[in-house]
Symmetry: C2
Subunit: 348 residues, 2 copies
């Protein structure tokens, strides 16, 4: 009982039909496919064999067959024909990036939303900051009498700023003093090192001034943390409601993916390209009814983030996988333009 060519064609047809219709697929339907064209009885024999091999499941005796997780896996890994994107499709994805603000902070959030709209799945987008990234420069700019703007520039080119309102008047002397102090203490340190304890030790070095400057120290800490933590955005969670697979589980899944702690580790550690987790393959049991497509994107040479799709197991892999791949490439390219100033060789 080999996994011969006809069995492969039948499995493919079952997966594709089930993805399209959501109904278990029966032998009669399959026998009418031009690439199969044998009698329903023969199809039934083959289906029994595929069932024995663990590639199909049966909701109940008198229903058609449905792909098992292994069936989907076999389909995705070797049977599926990935059609390259047409020029129109590429244009369609390119267009998604034209509406948004080119502000890098917003680009990722907008991308997550646009991808959700485009694919009809819920999306997650996150960036990660390598542990070797350091603080390159800190600046403090008086904005008006008691307000300053704090800037932290990291060695990966990310700049974050924050408005700090102080309880006292800030002249250039004070700003200069604090700027020098902060740069002496923080520059060259990796973001990972900038912990609450580290900040305490720095604060102590300010001696009698530590109280006065505390809002600024806290501000720097928050900015560094913000850069190091990276970004985490969700898009189109409500898309899940359009699938009846989620009729009573939507809330649970929507809550789950809102938790960065839960999802971050799952989608953060994947090789480049598109990785697929089908149903029970997900390490989180709540996702056993969902599939997760994850793609990494990079700025220049530097891997920097992940964008993922969450939808029902019955999702259109052959369309979504290449589209997600192209989307991630495009996103990386766009971010690279924004951050072009920096390349890998300048990093620690």
């Amino acid at each position: 009982m080999f996994f011969d060519d006809r069995k492969k064609r039948i499995l493919s047809a079952i997966v594709e039909t089930y993805i399209r219709t959501g109904e278990p697929v029966g032998s009669k339907t399959l026998s009418e496919f031009p690439e199969i064209s044998v009698s329903p009885a023969t199809v039934r024999n083959e289906m029994a064999a595929l069932f024995e091999m663990g590639l199909l499941e049966q909701p109940h005796t008198s229903a058609g067959r449905v792909p098992s997780h292994l069936g989907y896996r076999a389909y995705i890994d070797s049977l599926m024909r990935v059609r390259p994107l047409t020029a129109d499709e590429k244009d369609g994805i390119d267009a998604l990036f034209n509406i948004g603000d080119p502000d890098p902070d917003k680009l990722l959030a907008d991308s997550a939303e646009a991808l959700a709209e485009y694919t009809g799945c819920a999306t997650v987008a996150m960036t990660t900051t390598p542990s070797y990234v350091t603080v390159e420069h800190i600046d403090i700019v008086p904005a008006d009498a008691t307000t300053v703007v704090l800037l932290v520039i990291a060695s990966n080119g990310v700049v974050k700023s924050k408005v700090c309102r102080l309880g006292f008047r800030v002249n250039t002397g004070i700003a200069d003093f604090f700027r020098k102090f902060a740069n002496d203490r923080f520059c060259g340190h990796t973001l990972k090192e900038i912990t609450a304890e580290f900040m305490n030790s720095v604060s102590i070095q300010l001696g009698e001034y530590s109280g006065v400057f505390n809002p600024l120290i806290v501000g720097i800490y928050e900015l560094c943390k913000e850069v190091y933590d990276g970004q985490y955005y969700l898009g189109g969670r409500e898309k899940l409601l359009t699938y009846n697979e989620y009729s009573d589980r939507a809330l649970e899944i929507m809550k789950l993916i809102s938790k960065r702690d839960e999802i971050g580790p799952v989608i953060g550690n994947n090789p480049s390209g598109v990785t697929v987790f089908i149903g029970k393959e997900n390490s989180l049991s709540q996702l056993s009814g969902s599939s997760l497509l994850v793609a990494r994107f990079s700025i220049g040479e530097n891997d920097c983030g992940t964008i993922g799709l969450i939808g029902p197991v019955r999702m259109d892999y052959s369309r979504l996988i290449p589209h997600l791949e192209y989307f991630a490439e495009k996103l990386g390219a766009l971010l690279s333009i924004t951050y072009q100033r920096k390349t890998g060789d300048e990093n620690g």
Copy 2:
């Protein structure tokens, strides 16, 4: 047939019971209420009268009664007993504000989320900027060779910053030139005046340099627009899924409230205090099955924003109205601390 005291007690009991149970309320149930204690037959007579007056509805002949929109309205306007918040409840709300980042930009987003969690409703939070607010100061700070940080400080105390990456090296001379130019052109103008056309005319004044400085001009425009547009955040849209009233309309409502264009005008123009829109009272027909509670909050003396709750018509008004009111007060107070630098008298 007067709207006498007993009728009022019966209506109140119907509203409160229906809110609690979600089931139409029958005469027998009501007759057992201590504040009613007349026979079911008498209650039926009263209910028939209330029905005549348009305060009750009947899902079908053999079911109990349900409040009509007028019934809810009468209840909220004159029958409902608003219990003042206990110290514990106030503490509970106060605690919601302790977790978040005191960054004013994030405070509102976090508030919307916290309020949703606290009330079990979807929330909307937005700020509006009065049309008399002007540009007070613009700054440009070189961050590294080709990167600058733009700052716009508005007369209402709001400061926004943005990182701009330029295609050329920026020295202090260039920065000083542009700073002076920008302040000369923009300071004193209201944010409302800073339109795309206005920016064009400014750009022309830069003559041969207009191309080079264009990213900065665009950056200023975006910052001004960001300040003028104010913020718009949603919280806990998925909470709607917990009410079976929304079993098949949740997606529609979730999409609707995501559109600032649709909801903004509805919630933005209300008097201070809590305003209630019950079901069909909403100007948007899609909200006819929902109620909307809206509260304004202010910074110091200046009215500055709105926070609202969206949930099923059958929501617990007597609890939510005072809680929302206190929440809005507290939010305003917190923002006032952040923006205390400015008070009304300094504004144009």
